[in-house]
Subunit: 387 residues, 4 copies
């Protein structure tokens, strides 16, 4: 009998980009089997998607409420174990809360919720549930991003002084709202996306990446938030000056109107003795610079990288692993932890290294912080989250 | 009910690299379900592998002979449909032949067979069987390799004049034979690998890539074949001067002793008006150069690339798709064709664009040709294959 | 008889970096002949330098005062024509003023003066003198930086929306003051460097580059200015949010504690339809990105680039021209203009394209603005300069 | 009094590319003063060029014969010391011989002569003259090419096994002969260029670079030589398999019909433990790869590179030095040696590291060897030069 985890999906019906990515990511390492889903708020579309995915018709549900109700009544060996939620932001909190309260582990797309308030509430639900929770900040799944974090954590760079992170995109350079571009429509709609556009969609990724690699936490920020394209309801561009708790400073740049740019998210962290640099356009490389020595090109799939980088790689050096593999690393590590828990086995630190509810709370605080700062005449605003 | 194709695997047990890659590739797009296998020549190891993969024990076989015998007796709706063969080269021909003769479609790892004679025989079997056959020359699965072929085929470069292809690796720089490195051991063993080492393992990839992108066929060659590491039984390095049927010339370089190199296979094709360049270290880019205009950077996932490139991509531009996705493209296109055949539907040219038995015959002729040339004092030898 | 312009130099004695660069730049195209100088505030060192450079002893002066006094008494055909000033910042204003008032053209190293007040005063001197004045913002001398400006100016990118400029260095990561490193010592000394350290030394270059390529002018800014290394008297790091007069926004980053970084200044400018990117580590390339088309790689020395790029290049495409050539372009264009003036001939727009006193005034206003902003709790400060 | 060496030039009149390059290179470091020349075989053009360059009219000669005759009669302190010869290949031998025999040091453009016979004769003249002789194989002047040679020479890579060198250009993709393109016309004319076109023009550079970096000497070769463009009289493309005296093998590729390529000469040398890679498009970087460690990025202008690399660099790391600086390094090292000789001082090994007559003899033997091999049916031809 298969030891695959039984996965259910909420959202990810026709026209969704990220739903398909989640499915590939979950299946890539053979750790999950998709057994049920509520793929759309439209019951007909949900059915059609489920059929197309080869699910048993009786486990394709008309709503996530129905999903939870029915699944929890199934025998334990059949019942779904992990719920993957890939809906727009305004439909994150409730299904996540219900999933956890019904005893399911949850994988949730970012940003975690619609508001910071919901995020703080969800944190409590997660803690009370005893269930595992993963927030899909994809970029932290890249082996060389993990290597960057490990280089910093090793202390070899000395005290960290400077962080640059950027996420330039160009795909919203025109007013696409109302067109066939479903992605453009919901992501720029405050009733679905929340308080922020670009800052929520990609700014949170950049923020998470900066904190993840540097190992630092932001304590103050000063934001310039712009809506560049006429008629747009949410921000499509911004830049944020950062102060970290250890005294380091940083700059975060995110734009969806950098015409001609794709998704070349990039992070640089500098300490007293050197720095690390990673960018998605050269995803299998970590550049490690030193004050008085040649820079090093560290590569995925080699024998000399950290256990974290090695664990999150599948192919020999030089055979590139990309975005789907990075995404799959989140799912795989989550599965390894869930299965170990089920088996009463200890987990390994490499497995536990996936983004969780605390990343989600910080991401929502970032969104609210930068939007508030963007409107303020005051330079610095404090960035702190209630415990 | 799932419309996944039922897949069986021969080889790919413990310690195998390429077997795992095939499994990920087959499952990545959800087109196949692994239903049976004979994973090792050791029945115990085969069983263990099958259990680990979650197969029903009764469909984990002790040998491929058993697999064919039993599977053909299963009801048509249960029976395996596609056989994936991922064994060392000396166990390619017989299982492929048996699979085809028992009515199964075949996906076979390269090089196609142990000898050219076997390759010619297998071609006849494929033709007689009416079944589909795919040879996994991975690199032709990359969207930007396909784009390169399309640029050439469009005629925009004019007549093709020059082809450079190279595949530098360094992993066999030391004598690793007899160590734990199972890959090193069989790939350098003439009883398993065949007449050639590096030329068979990576030279054939380079050869295939050169012919695929240029759309040309090699007609003469002159090879320098070397065994650099002392004690090694097969070549670990070589370079080949090429002449193509249209009058173009080329150079092929393949080495497994280029210390420090990973797998950065690279191809360049030049015509009268410009050229294309692709390399695996920047896998989502095709460089298109022009005589009198700026070079273009064409990218996976954009709207301006050919239908072939678009069809073989899953994520938006800038989210890199790597080696596993390229491999998955072979499996996916093969599945689309098989399913269309089953449904009595026509296929599309983009689906039919996967390497087949002819590529395999040419690859085996390449191996025999370069080994012969390497030993000859004569400069050019003709490269022709009996029809 | 040589038609070289007669050049005199103030500063640039032993231990000076930029003096040697100016000399190479001036001589590279054979437009100038060094005829006199006051190379150090120490008369002995000045003499020694002059001898080493092969000058006539009677034209190596003990001070710039002496230089001006003596040279103006020489016959017109012998007298120095252009004065190059390469002293530390606190010795810029007076020699520049005296040179102009004594009828000499001036090439001055950046930042233009010690204070904004001096800069405004020097602007008046330049205007009153009728002499030519060049401020050596080197990076605008690169052919592909000029190409970037021309692409923007052509309107092809549409309205400019976003500017990113960065100048990361690591050479002041340690406390080097008081060591043998003469560069580190004066550049971090407020009595020689002025109000700013990194912002004056490299921030002004970044600022100039941003305005030059975008063709825009900054109207507001918000700065985070840091002194990272303990004991240092001036800033060694900073980041500035920018607003431009046309409504575009931008980010400027400059650091001298980005350990392991060299001098990879980089500028990116995005408009409605695309963007341009240039960086010094790939100095002969301008990347031009488009919303719906492949990015272009424009290259120095090709036939398709603008007249500005062509005019500022000496070698065929692919033979790289670097920093010294960029510097030489400033000197060469300045010489072409001076010679045309002398000959009563009109100049060409490509020749007039060198940085001048207005760039210097703006640079000094930038320094004072970012230092003031760095100390302020207010977010935005206006950036305006009295006419 | 100036201690500049007095330089005379033969060739380099209107329409010449390389003459201007030599002049910039000679003057860049202030080591030479151009005092006389015979710039064209047309006396009028010679005069015009000399005037434009600001020479005294009486030292602009109508022919090189006149130059030698007159200059040797000048007082020693006025007389030219170094003769730079930048004529087409068929006018290399005689002026070089005369210059040496008249007591002048010689800098000569490559390839050294019109025939191998002339090269062997010139070697004798050089040896008999006691004068210094430099052949301008530019690429060996790059600091990071020198660093590559030093890494190999240090033994850190172990025994050298493989050398790849390539020089792709596209500028002769069309039939340009007879057009205004003076360069295209003489370089493809056997009466001026010699037995080879591409192989002489750029193949010799590649050959020299391969031997220089690897420290090895070629002992056998097998060439494929092509004339691709219809109507052309000389080869415009070729590839050569190489065997080195130590047992290593190599591949040399040179083409002038690789449409869209500029001048991206590239060399890779691999030993038992790692390899080095340099290419002109990233001229200030040497990539050093290792079997089991991250690759290193070594950079011009840093403190950690060899004395050879440091000596041949002028600017801090990150301020790129390009083709003209590489060329200037040849002239500068030559001047340092000549001046030391004149002063009766010892030279330093870093100064002596410029290409000489032996490189020229080997280059001419390469040309004759590859042209002979290209016509031969035999695979390997021996490459040996009479002592």
């Amino acid at each position: 009998m298969s030891d695959k985890l039984r996965l259910g999906m909420i959202g990810g019906g026709p026209g969704a980009f990220i739903g398909g990515v989640h499915r590939i990511a979950a299946q890539l390492d053979g750790e999950y089997e998709l057994v049920c889903g509520a793929f759309s708020s439209d019951p007909e579309k949900s059915k059609a998607s489920g059929m197309e995915l080869g699910l048993s018709p009786e486990r394709v549900y008309r709503s996530y409420h129905e999903l939870f109700e029915r699944e929890r009544q199934l025998p334990e060996q059949e019942r779904v174990q992990v719920i993957s939620i890939v809906t727009p932001n305004h439909v994150h909190f409730e299904p996540a809360k219900l999933a956890l309260e019904n005893g399911f582990h949850v994988v949730l797309d970012k940003p975690m919720t619609f508001t910071l308030e919901e995020a703080l509430a969800l944190r409590k639900v997660v803690e009370a549930s005893g269930k595992r929770f993963c927030l899909t900040h994809t970029y932290t799944g890249y082996p060389m991003v993990k290597e960057g974090r490990q280089v910093v954590a090793s202390g070899q760079l000395g005290k960290i002084r400077k962080v640059y992170v950027e996420y330039p995109q160009g795909w919203l350079s025109r007013f696409e709202e109302g067109s066939d571009n479903k992605q453009a429509s919901w992501r720029t709609d405050p009733s679905k996306s929340g308080k922020a556009g670009a800052m929520g969609d990609i700014g949170t990724h950049a923020f998470n990446l900066a904190e993840y690699v540097s190992g630092l936490t932001v304590s103050k920020l000063c934001a310039d938030i712009n809506t560049v394209v006429e008629g747009r309801q949410l921000d499509d561009d911004g830049a944020v000056l950062l102060k970290f708790a250890n005294g380091a400073s940083g700059v975060l740049m995110a734009s969806q109107v950098a015409a001609g740019e794709e998704n070349n998210v990039k992070v640089r962290v500098y300490g007293e003795h050197g720095g690390v640099e990673w960018q998605q356009s050269d995803e299998n490389t970590l550049l490690v610079r030193w004050l008085d020595k040649p820079a090093e090109i560290r590569r995925t799939g080699t024998g000399y990288v950290s256990s974290y980088a090695q664990h999150n790689s599948r192919t020999p050096a030089g055979h590139p692993e990309g975005y789907l593999e990075a995404f799959a690393n989140l799912y795989r590590n989550f599965a390894l932890c869930v299965k170990a828990d089920l088996a009463g086995q200890p987990t390994q630190p490499e497995w536990e290294d996936y983004p969780g509810v605390e990343d989600g709370v910080r991401g929502m605080a970032f969104i609210e912080g930068v939007i508030a700062s963007g409107k303020s005449d005051q330079k610095w605003i404090n960035f702190s989250i209630e415990a």
